[in-house]
Symmetry: C2
Subunit: 203 residues, 2 copies
Protein backbone atom coordinates (compact mmCIF):
# COMPACT_ATOMS: atom_id res chain seq x y z
CA UNK A 1 0.00 0.00 0.00
CA UNK A 2 1.16 3.51 -0.78
CA UNK A 3 0.95 6.37 1.67
CA UNK A 4 -0.74 9.44 0.26
CA UNK A 5 2.61 11.25 0.14
CA UNK A 6 4.15 8.43 -1.94
CA UNK A 7 1.20 8.65 -4.31
CA UNK A 8 1.75 12.38 -4.70
CA UNK A 9 5.41 11.81 -5.51
CA UNK A 10 4.58 9.12 -8.08
CA UNK A 11 2.02 11.37 -9.67
CA UNK A 12 4.49 14.23 -10.00
CA UNK A 13 7.06 11.90 -11.55
CA UNK A 14 4.57 10.50 -14.06
CA UNK A 15 3.37 14.02 -14.86
CA UNK A 16 6.95 15.06 -15.55
CA UNK A 17 7.59 12.03 -17.76
CA UNK A 18 4.40 12.56 -19.74
CA UNK A 19 5.19 16.27 -20.11
CA UNK A 20 8.71 15.36 -21.27
CA UNK A 21 7.37 13.16 -24.09
CA UNK A 22 5.43 16.11 -25.45
CA UNK A 23 7.82 19.01 -24.77
CA UNK A 24 10.98 17.21 -25.90
CA UNK A 25 9.35 16.10 -29.16
CA UNK A 26 8.22 19.67 -29.82
CA UNK A 27 11.28 21.70 -28.79
CA UNK A 28 14.09 19.17 -28.77
CA UNK A 29 16.39 18.48 -25.82
CA UNK A 30 18.71 21.48 -25.75
CA UNK A 31 15.99 24.11 -26.11
CA UNK A 32 13.89 22.55 -23.34
CA UNK A 33 14.50 23.90 -19.84
CA UNK A 34 13.67 22.41 -16.47
CA UNK A 35 11.23 25.32 -16.09
CA UNK A 36 9.50 24.32 -19.36
CA UNK A 37 9.11 20.77 -18.09
CA UNK A 38 7.79 21.86 -14.67
CA UNK A 39 5.32 24.26 -16.29
CA UNK A 40 4.05 21.61 -18.73
CA UNK A 41 3.74 19.05 -15.93
CA UNK A 42 2.23 21.49 -13.45
CA UNK A 43 4.78 20.61 -10.77
CA UNK A 44 7.32 22.60 -8.79
CA UNK A 45 11.05 22.70 -9.41
CA UNK A 46 11.42 21.10 -5.99
CA UNK A 47 9.37 18.14 -7.22
CA UNK A 48 11.52 17.92 -10.37
CA UNK A 49 14.77 17.72 -8.44
CA UNK A 50 13.23 15.32 -5.93
CA UNK A 51 12.84 12.83 -8.79
CA UNK A 52 15.65 13.74 -11.19
CA UNK A 53 19.14 15.03 -10.46
CA UNK A 54 19.33 16.91 -13.78
CA UNK A 55 17.61 17.59 -17.09
CA UNK A 56 19.83 14.88 -18.58
CA UNK A 57 18.61 12.33 -15.99
CA UNK A 58 15.00 13.25 -16.79
CA UNK A 59 15.73 12.83 -20.52
CA UNK A 60 17.17 9.35 -20.00
CA UNK A 61 14.15 8.39 -17.85
CA UNK A 62 11.82 9.86 -20.49
CA UNK A 63 13.36 7.73 -23.25
CA UNK A 64 13.04 4.61 -21.09
CA UNK A 65 9.43 5.57 -20.28
CA UNK A 66 8.85 6.12 -24.02
CA UNK A 67 10.15 2.60 -24.71
CA UNK A 68 7.70 1.21 -22.12
CA UNK A 69 4.67 3.17 -23.34
CA UNK A 70 5.26 2.49 -27.03
CA UNK A 71 6.27 -1.09 -26.25
CA UNK A 72 2.86 -1.70 -24.69
CA UNK A 73 1.14 -0.05 -27.67
CA UNK A 74 2.91 -2.28 -30.19
CA UNK A 75 2.59 -5.43 -28.07
CA UNK A 76 -1.21 -4.94 -28.01
CA UNK A 77 -1.55 -4.00 -31.70
CA UNK A 78 -3.49 -6.30 -34.03
CA UNK A 79 -0.67 -6.99 -36.52
CA UNK A 80 0.52 -9.96 -34.45
CA UNK A 81 -2.67 -11.91 -35.26
CA UNK A 82 -1.86 -12.80 -38.88
CA UNK A 83 -0.90 -16.39 -39.55
CA UNK A 84 1.71 -15.72 -42.23
CA UNK A 85 4.88 -14.08 -40.87
CA UNK A 86 5.19 -11.78 -43.92
CA UNK A 87 1.59 -10.68 -43.36
CA UNK A 88 2.53 -9.81 -39.76
CA UNK A 89 5.46 -7.71 -40.99
CA UNK A 90 3.37 -5.93 -43.63
CA UNK A 91 0.58 -5.34 -41.11
CA UNK A 92 3.16 -3.81 -38.75
CA UNK A 93 4.13 -1.39 -41.53
CA UNK A 94 0.45 -0.62 -42.18
CA UNK A 95 0.00 0.03 -38.45
CA UNK A 96 2.92 2.48 -38.53
CA UNK A 97 1.26 4.24 -41.47
CA UNK A 98 -2.00 4.50 -39.49
CA UNK A 99 -0.16 6.21 -36.63
CA UNK A 100 0.94 9.04 -38.97
CA UNK A 101 -1.74 11.60 -38.18
CA UNK A 102 -2.27 14.73 -36.18
CA UNK A 103 0.41 17.19 -35.15
CA UNK A 104 4.03 16.43 -36.05
CA UNK A 105 5.07 16.25 -32.38
CA UNK A 106 2.36 13.67 -31.76
CA UNK A 107 3.46 11.05 -34.30
CA UNK A 108 7.25 11.51 -34.32
CA UNK A 109 9.77 9.59 -32.23
CA UNK A 110 11.28 10.84 -28.96
CA UNK A 111 14.39 8.68 -29.32
CA UNK A 112 15.11 9.71 -32.91
CA UNK A 113 14.56 13.37 -32.08
CA UNK A 114 16.83 13.37 -29.05
CA UNK A 115 19.70 11.29 -30.44
CA UNK A 116 19.98 13.72 -33.35
CA UNK A 117 21.07 16.48 -30.97
CA UNK A 118 22.72 14.59 -28.14
CA UNK A 119 24.73 11.81 -29.78
CA UNK A 120 27.96 13.73 -29.28
CA UNK A 121 27.30 15.51 -25.97
CA UNK A 122 25.45 12.95 -23.82
CA UNK A 123 26.56 9.30 -23.85
CA UNK A 124 23.71 8.45 -21.44
CA UNK A 125 20.95 9.89 -23.65
CA UNK A 126 22.53 8.41 -26.78
CA UNK A 127 22.62 4.96 -25.15
CA UNK A 128 18.98 5.23 -24.02
CA UNK A 129 17.90 6.27 -27.54
CA UNK A 130 19.92 3.47 -29.12
CA UNK A 131 18.33 0.94 -26.74
CA UNK A 132 14.86 2.31 -27.54
CA UNK A 133 15.26 2.16 -31.33
CA UNK A 134 17.14 -1.16 -31.42
CA UNK A 135 14.85 -2.67 -28.79
CA UNK A 136 11.78 -1.86 -30.86
CA UNK A 137 13.47 -3.16 -34.02
CA UNK A 138 14.23 -6.41 -32.17
CA UNK A 139 10.49 -7.01 -31.63
CA UNK A 140 10.23 -7.47 -35.43
CA UNK A 141 13.08 -9.94 -35.80
CA UNK A 142 11.20 -13.16 -35.02
CA UNK A 143 8.53 -12.41 -37.64
CA UNK A 144 11.16 -11.35 -40.17
CA UNK A 145 13.25 -14.45 -39.52
CA UNK A 146 10.16 -16.64 -39.96
CA UNK A 147 9.30 -14.82 -43.22
CA UNK A 148 12.87 -15.20 -44.51
CA UNK A 149 12.65 -18.93 -43.77
CA UNK A 150 9.13 -19.34 -45.19
CA UNK A 151 9.89 -17.47 -48.42
CA UNK A 152 13.40 -18.86 -48.86
CA UNK A 153 15.26 -15.55 -48.92
CA UNK A 154 19.03 -15.54 -49.01
CA UNK A 155 21.71 -12.97 -48.21
CA UNK A 156 19.50 -10.86 -45.96
CA UNK A 157 19.26 -10.87 -42.18
CA UNK A 158 16.19 -10.30 -40.05
CA UNK A 159 18.18 -7.88 -37.87
CA UNK A 160 19.20 -5.76 -40.84
CA UNK A 161 15.65 -5.60 -42.23
CA UNK A 162 14.28 -4.77 -38.78
CA UNK A 163 16.68 -1.85 -38.34
CA UNK A 164 15.93 -0.68 -41.88
CA UNK A 165 12.25 -0.31 -40.99
CA UNK A 166 13.32 2.08 -38.23
CA UNK A 167 15.67 4.01 -40.52
CA UNK A 168 12.82 4.60 -42.98
CA UNK A 169 10.45 5.67 -40.20
CA UNK A 170 13.01 8.04 -38.64
CA UNK A 171 13.77 9.60 -42.01
CA UNK A 172 10.08 9.86 -42.81
CA UNK A 173 9.62 11.82 -39.57
CA UNK A 174 12.36 14.26 -40.63
CA UNK A 175 10.64 14.86 -43.98
CA UNK A 176 7.34 15.36 -42.12
CA UNK A 177 9.02 17.98 -39.94
CA UNK A 178 10.52 19.71 -42.98
CA UNK A 179 7.20 19.72 -44.83
CA UNK A 180 4.97 20.33 -41.83
CA UNK A 181 2.68 17.30 -41.98
CA UNK A 182 2.41 13.50 -42.15
CA UNK A 183 1.65 13.01 -45.86
CA UNK A 184 5.25 12.75 -47.05
CA UNK A 185 6.03 10.33 -44.21
CA UNK A 186 3.18 8.10 -45.35
CA UNK A 187 4.69 7.96 -48.85
CA UNK A 188 8.02 6.68 -47.52
CA UNK A 189 6.29 4.12 -45.32
CA UNK A 190 4.45 3.01 -48.48
CA UNK A 191 7.81 2.57 -50.25
CA UNK A 192 9.04 0.50 -47.31
CA UNK A 193 5.98 -1.76 -47.63
CA UNK A 194 6.55 -2.04 -51.37
CA UNK A 195 10.23 -2.98 -50.80
CA UNK A 196 9.26 -5.78 -48.43
CA UNK A 197 6.53 -7.04 -50.80
CA UNK A 198 8.98 -7.10 -53.74
CA UNK A 199 11.81 -8.59 -51.67
CA UNK A 200 9.82 -11.52 -50.37
CA UNK A 201 8.14 -12.18 -53.71
CA UNK A 202 11.46 -12.02 -55.56
CA UNK A 203 12.53 -15.55 -54.62
Amino acid sequence: MHSSSTLRRETAKTKLLNAALSVLRTKGYSATTVDDLCAAAGVTKGAFFHHFVSKEALAVAAVNYWSEVTGALFAAAPYHAHKDPLDRVLAYIDFRAQLLSGEVAEFTCLAGTMVQETYDCSPAIRAACEASISGHAATLEADLAAAIEAYGLRDVSAASLALHTQAVLQGAFILAKAKGGPQIAGESVGHLRNYFSLLFKST
Copy 2:
Protein backbone atom coordinates in the same frame (compact mmCIF):
# COMPACT_ATOMS: atom_id res chain seq x y z
CA MET B 1 38.03 44.26 -57.51
CA HIS B 2 37.67 43.92 -53.76
CA SER B 3 39.31 46.22 -51.28
CA SER B 4 41.38 44.41 -48.65
CA SER B 5 38.74 45.25 -46.01
CA THR B 6 36.00 43.68 -48.14
CA LEU B 7 38.16 40.58 -48.52
CA ARG B 8 38.63 40.42 -44.74
CA ARG B 9 34.87 40.63 -44.25
CA GLU B 10 34.23 37.90 -46.84
CA THR B 11 36.81 35.71 -45.21
CA ALA B 12 35.25 36.11 -41.77
CA LYS B 13 31.81 35.30 -43.20
CA THR B 14 33.06 32.20 -44.99
CA LYS B 15 34.95 31.12 -41.87
CA LEU B 16 31.73 31.44 -39.86
CA LEU B 17 29.73 29.48 -42.42
CA ASN B 18 32.30 26.69 -42.58
CA ALA B 19 32.51 26.59 -38.78
CA ALA B 20 28.70 26.43 -38.64
CA LEU B 21 28.58 23.33 -40.88
CA SER B 22 30.83 21.51 -38.44
CA VAL B 23 29.63 22.85 -35.07
CA LEU B 24 25.89 22.62 -35.87
CA ARG B 25 26.23 19.04 -37.11
CA THR B 26 28.07 18.11 -33.93
CA LYS B 27 26.10 19.95 -31.24
CA GLY B 28 22.80 20.76 -32.93
CA TYR B 29 21.27 24.22 -33.22
CA SER B 30 19.98 24.93 -29.73
CA ALA B 31 23.12 23.84 -27.90
CA THR B 32 25.36 25.93 -30.18
CA THR B 33 26.09 29.46 -28.99
CA VAL B 34 27.34 32.47 -30.95
CA ASP B 35 30.50 32.17 -28.83
CA ASP B 36 30.95 28.54 -29.97
CA LEU B 37 30.66 29.63 -33.60
CA CYS B 38 33.09 32.56 -33.18
CA ALA B 39 35.61 30.34 -31.39
CA ALA B 40 35.40 27.64 -34.06
CA ALA B 41 35.71 30.22 -36.85
CA GLY B 42 38.45 32.21 -35.11
CA VAL B 43 36.54 35.48 -35.51
CA THR B 44 35.28 38.10 -33.08
CA LYS B 45 31.70 38.53 -31.93
CA GLY B 46 31.82 41.91 -33.68
CA ALA B 47 32.56 40.15 -36.96
CA PHE B 48 29.70 37.71 -36.32
CA PHE B 49 27.14 40.47 -35.81
CA HIS B 50 28.54 42.43 -38.74
CA HIS B 51 27.45 39.57 -41.00
CA PHE B 52 24.49 38.03 -39.17
CA VAL B 53 21.81 39.69 -37.07
CA SER B 54 21.30 36.58 -34.94
CA LYS B 55 22.20 32.93 -34.48
CA GLU B 56 19.00 32.09 -36.37
CA ALA B 57 20.11 34.23 -39.34
CA LEU B 58 23.49 32.47 -39.36
CA ALA B 59 21.71 29.10 -39.25
CA VAL B 60 19.55 29.97 -42.27
CA ALA B 61 22.64 31.19 -44.16
CA ALA B 62 24.51 28.02 -43.15
CA VAL B 63 21.76 25.78 -44.57
CA ASN B 64 21.76 27.75 -47.83
CA TYR B 65 25.58 27.53 -47.93
CA TRP B 66 25.28 23.78 -47.24
CA SER B 67 22.91 23.46 -50.22
CA GLU B 68 25.48 25.26 -52.42
CA VAL B 69 28.51 23.27 -51.25
CA THR B 70 26.79 19.88 -51.43
CA GLY B 71 25.07 20.89 -54.67
CA ALA B 72 28.47 21.44 -56.29
CA LEU B 73 29.74 18.11 -54.92
CA PHE B 74 26.82 16.16 -56.39
CA ALA B 75 26.80 18.08 -59.67
CA ALA B 76 30.45 17.11 -60.22
CA ALA B 77 30.06 13.48 -59.09
CA PRO B 78 30.59 10.67 -61.63
CA TYR B 79 27.13 9.08 -61.34
CA HIS B 80 25.75 11.36 -64.05
CA ALA B 81 27.94 9.70 -66.71
CA HIS B 82 26.00 6.43 -67.03
CA LYS B 83 23.93 6.04 -70.20
CA ASP B 84 21.00 4.19 -68.64
CA PRO B 85 18.88 6.37 -66.33
CA LEU B 86 18.42 3.55 -63.79
CA ASP B 87 22.21 3.09 -63.73
CA ARG B 88 22.54 6.81 -62.94
CA VAL B 89 20.10 6.46 -60.04
CA LEU B 90 21.82 3.34 -58.68
CA ALA B 91 25.23 5.01 -59.06
CA TYR B 92 23.89 8.00 -57.09
CA ILE B 93 22.93 5.61 -54.27
CA ASP B 94 26.37 3.97 -54.46
CA PHE B 95 27.96 7.43 -54.28
CA ARG B 96 25.92 8.19 -51.13
CA ALA B 97 27.16 4.90 -49.64
CA GLN B 98 30.77 5.90 -50.41
CA LEU B 99 30.29 9.16 -48.51
CA LEU B 100 29.45 7.25 -45.32
CA SER B 101 32.84 7.27 -43.64
CA GLY B 102 34.73 9.07 -40.92
CA GLU B 103 33.20 10.81 -37.93
CA VAL B 104 29.41 10.96 -37.63
CA ALA B 105 29.37 14.78 -37.82
CA GLU B 106 31.32 14.61 -41.08
CA PHE B 107 28.91 12.44 -43.09
CA THR B 108 25.54 13.47 -41.64
CA CYS B 109 23.23 16.18 -43.00
CA LEU B 110 23.05 19.73 -41.66
CA ALA B 111 19.48 20.23 -42.89
CA GLY B 112 18.15 16.99 -41.42
CA THR B 113 19.88 17.65 -38.12
CA MET B 114 18.59 21.20 -37.77
CA VAL B 115 15.00 20.64 -38.89
CA GLN B 116 14.63 17.95 -36.24
CA GLU B 117 15.03 20.56 -33.49
CA THR B 118 13.73 23.71 -35.10
CA TYR B 119 10.65 22.69 -37.11
CA ASP B 120 8.33 24.07 -34.45
CA CYS B 121 10.32 27.08 -33.19
CA SER B 122 11.89 28.61 -36.31
CA PRO B 123 9.86 28.87 -39.52
CA ALA B 124 12.90 30.39 -41.28
CA ILE B 125 15.25 27.51 -40.45
CA ARG B 126 12.54 24.93 -41.21
CA ALA B 127 11.95 26.51 -44.63
CA ALA B 128 15.68 26.58 -45.42
CA CYS B 129 16.03 22.91 -44.41
CA GLU B 130 12.96 21.94 -46.45
CA ALA B 131 14.38 23.76 -49.49
CA SER B 132 17.75 22.05 -49.04
CA ILE B 133 16.33 18.51 -48.74
CA SER B 134 13.65 18.93 -51.43
CA GLY B 135 16.05 20.81 -53.72
CA HIS B 136 18.56 17.97 -53.57
CA ALA B 137 15.80 15.40 -54.12
CA ALA B 138 14.68 17.37 -57.18
CA THR B 139 18.11 16.85 -58.81
CA LEU B 140 17.23 13.12 -59.01
CA GLU B 141 13.82 13.55 -60.58
CA ALA B 142 14.85 13.75 -64.24
CA ASP B 143 16.84 10.50 -64.03
CA LEU B 144 14.03 8.79 -62.10
CA ALA B 145 11.41 10.00 -64.59
CA ALA B 146 13.54 8.70 -67.47
CA ALA B 147 13.98 5.35 -65.69
CA ILE B 148 10.22 5.09 -64.99
CA GLU B 149 9.60 5.72 -68.69
CA ALA B 150 12.36 3.38 -69.91
CA TYR B 151 11.32 0.49 -67.64
CA GLY B 152 7.57 1.03 -68.02
CA LEU B 153 6.78 1.52 -64.32
CA ARG B 154 3.25 2.49 -63.32
CA ASP B 155 1.71 4.01 -60.21
CA VAL B 156 4.92 5.56 -58.94
CA SER B 157 6.15 9.13 -59.33
CA ALA B 158 9.72 10.33 -59.76
CA ALA B 159 9.13 12.98 -57.10
CA SER B 160 7.98 10.42 -54.54
CA LEU B 161 10.93 8.11 -55.21
CA ALA B 162 13.35 11.05 -55.06
CA LEU B 163 12.06 12.14 -51.65
CA HIS B 164 12.13 8.54 -50.44
CA THR B 165 15.88 8.38 -51.13
CA GLN B 166 16.29 11.34 -48.78
CA ALA B 167 14.04 9.80 -46.12
CA VAL B 168 16.18 6.65 -46.10
CA LEU B 169 19.40 8.68 -45.93
CA GLN B 170 18.12 10.90 -43.10
CA GLY B 171 16.93 7.88 -41.14
CA ALA B 172 20.21 6.09 -41.79
CA PHE B 173 22.04 9.09 -40.29
CA ILE B 174 19.91 8.84 -37.14
CA LEU B 175 20.77 5.16 -36.74
CA ALA B 176 24.44 6.04 -37.29
CA LYS B 177 24.20 8.61 -34.50
CA ALA B 178 22.48 6.11 -32.20
CA LYS B 179 25.06 3.40 -32.90
CA GLY B 180 28.10 5.68 -33.16
CA GLY B 181 29.31 4.89 -36.67
CA PRO B 182 28.47 4.62 -40.38
CA GLN B 183 28.07 0.84 -40.75
CA ILE B 184 24.35 0.69 -39.94
CA ALA B 185 23.71 3.63 -42.29
CA GLY B 186 25.42 1.72 -45.09
CA GLU B 187 23.06 -1.21 -44.54
CA SER B 188 19.98 0.97 -45.01
CA VAL B 189 21.46 2.60 -48.11
CA GLY B 190 22.01 -0.95 -49.40
CA HIS B 191 18.33 -1.73 -48.79
CA LEU B 192 17.40 1.43 -50.70
CA ARG B 193 19.51 0.26 -53.65
CA ASN B 194 17.90 -3.19 -53.46
CA TYR B 195 14.41 -1.62 -53.43
CA PHE B 196 15.14 0.37 -56.58
CA SER B 197 16.68 -2.67 -58.31
CA LEU B 198 13.63 -4.80 -57.48
CA LEU B 199 11.15 -2.05 -58.32
CA PHE B 200 12.51 -1.37 -61.79
CA LYS B 201 12.99 -5.05 -62.57
CA SER B 202 9.46 -5.91 -61.39
CA THR B 203 7.76 -4.72 -64.57
